[in-house]
């Protein structure tokens, strides 16, 4: 694709990137799911090498508009460096709806889009595995960028150099993912500090069993096992204390009929519930819980999307 072929189009490239819920239940640092909530990044026009402009609409409009600190542009430059290609400058337009720093993989959307824009503008046809390796190197872990790029539910392992991943089958059509996003920011450093430095052997065994069950249940559509599979002893009990209503909401939602599992998304504070059938009762309970704790919140009814990042050019 040569973007210069389309000088009269509103954009040269448009990248539509899904939110993700990582650390899913027992799958700490391993399992992640793409959600049907999308940031859209448009490359409006090319600029001279090293020159960038950035317009942000929606989430992060006040803090992401400086190209020098914009994560998409930083990831673009890192990818260009990895592949040894000239970093064309460009005018970027971001339509952000994924809340920032709330555990829904907002930063991963920027990393994935930056790498794919670098690949597209350079005219490379880099294989999927290598693209994902570069994304993981930039992000530092694969559990958000893998589902963000590939879509669906992914199991991913990373040893610092090599990446192994498997994409699981999609969720059924009548499965909703209700996401409650309290308007409190849990700093990454606090989320890390909240975790114990050592893990009891029994807790490790507990999580091994639950993570294996979660993957097996997902692979075979045995959704009745999700509640167990999304149980966890390594991170959720510690991180749910970091935001008002965190502990209460998990307990209240878990037992509502139709709720198949509930988990903290990423390192929080977003809480996601998988619901089969009508999501209204779970949705209302989540709203009520955060309201009772005096926390303003955003709520989304989403689905696990099998489609990952999509690049659109005026010809496509």
């Amino acid at each position: 694709m040569n973007p210069m072929n389309f000088p009269h189009s509103p954009f040269l490239l448009s990248v539509r990137v899904p939110a993700t819920s990582a650390n899913l239940g027992a799958g700490f640092d391993t399992l992640g799911m793409a959600l049907s909530l999308y940031n859209v990044f448009n490359v409006k026009e090319l600029l001279p090498e090293g020159e960038f402009s950035c317009q942000v609409v929606g989430e992060g409009a006040r803090v992401l508009s400086d190209p020098r600190s914009n994560m998409l542009i930083q990831s673009y430059l890192r990818a260009c460096e990895v592949w040894g290609v000239k970093p064309e400058g460009f005018a970027l337009e971001c339509h952000n709806v994924i809340p920032l720093c709330r555990g829904l993989g907002s930063s991963s959307t920027a990393v994935v889009a930056g790498v794919l824009i670098a690949n597209a503008l350079a005219g490379l046809r880099t294989p999927e595995t290598e693209l994902l390796r570069v994304m993981t190197t930039i992000e530092g872990h694969p559990d958000n960028v893998a589902p963000c790029f590939l879509g669906g539910m992914t199991v991913s392992c990373w040893d610092g150099e090599e990446l192994r991943y498997v994409k699981l089958p999609p969720l059924p059509d009548d499965m909703h993912v209700v996401a409650a996003v309290p308007d409190v920011q849990v700093r990454t450093v606090d989320a890390r500090r909240a975790l114990p430095k050592e893990v009891q052997f029994g807790d490790a065994v507990f999580n091994l069993g639950r993570a294996a069950l979660l993957c097996a249940a997902w692979a075979t559509s045995r959704w009745e096992h999700l509640a167990w599979g999304m149980d966890d002893r390594l991170h959720q009990q510690y991180r749910s204390r970091l935001f008002p209503g965190g502990e209460v909401i998990m307990d209240r939602v878990r037992d509502i009929p139709g709720c198949l599992g509930v988990a903290i998304s990423g390192s929080g504070p977003t809480v996601v519930a998988l619901v089969r059938g009508g999501p209204g009762r779970v949705a209302s309970e989540m709203c009520r819980t955060f309201s009772e704790h005096g926390v303003a919140s955003q709520f989304f009814v989403l689905e696990g999307t099998a489609e990952g990042t999509r690049i659109v050019t005026p010809k496509s």
Binding site: S36, H176, E292, L302
Partner: protein, 161 residues
């Protein structure tokens, strides 16, 4: 005729609260003809009535469309929106059930040109955030957080009744 109270003057008769609605917002909807028709046809086909439809300003060919539905219709509304959002490539669906409507009710309210300003100022002084607004001759309604609705009603009663 009392010159202090001419027949066409605005008259406020009540302040009402209503907790029966939920707000739904379709995020990042393509700003092209026919999309709104598609959304509200899908809702109507599922028997979902809507109120207070708000479309924000276009931004780069994308817009948000928000509206209220009765809470008991939330499941049907969400399902309709989910299908449409997928079909039109919108960016997502958000909702909130912890909202309430707070209304000034009366007659000829649109004749009182400073009434909206006074109402919104009263709410602002009480640090109550307004999420949506709709007005006509018979009422001016603000959507606020459910846990702020009683305070909002008290403020408005004290100011206008």
């Amino acid at each position: 005729m009392n010159p202090q109270n001419p027949p066409c003057a605005a008259r406020i008769s009540d302040v009402c609260t209503d907790y029966s609605s939920a707000r739904i917002t379709l995020l990042g909807v393509p700003d092209v003809p026919g999309v709104a028709a598609r959304i509200f046809t899908a809702l109507a086909n599922r028997g979902v009535g809507v109120e207070m439809i708000v479309q924000n300003n276009m931004r780069g060919g994308i817009t948000d469309i928000g509206f209220l539905v009765m809470k008991e219709c939330l499941n049907n509304a969400v399902e309709a929106c989910r299908q449409v959002v997928k079909a039109i490539d919108a960016q997502g669906v958000s909702f909130n059930t912890e909202i309430a409507r707070v209304s000034l009710v009366g007659e000829n309210l649109s004749k009182a040109i400073d009434l909206p300003a006074k109402m919104f100022s009263a709410l602002a002084e009480a640090k109550i955030n307004i999420e949506m607004i709709v007005s006509n001759s018979y009422d001016i309604t603000c959507v606020v957080a459910a846990n702020a609705a009683e305070a909002a009603a008290e403020v408005l009663r004290a100011r206008f009744l």
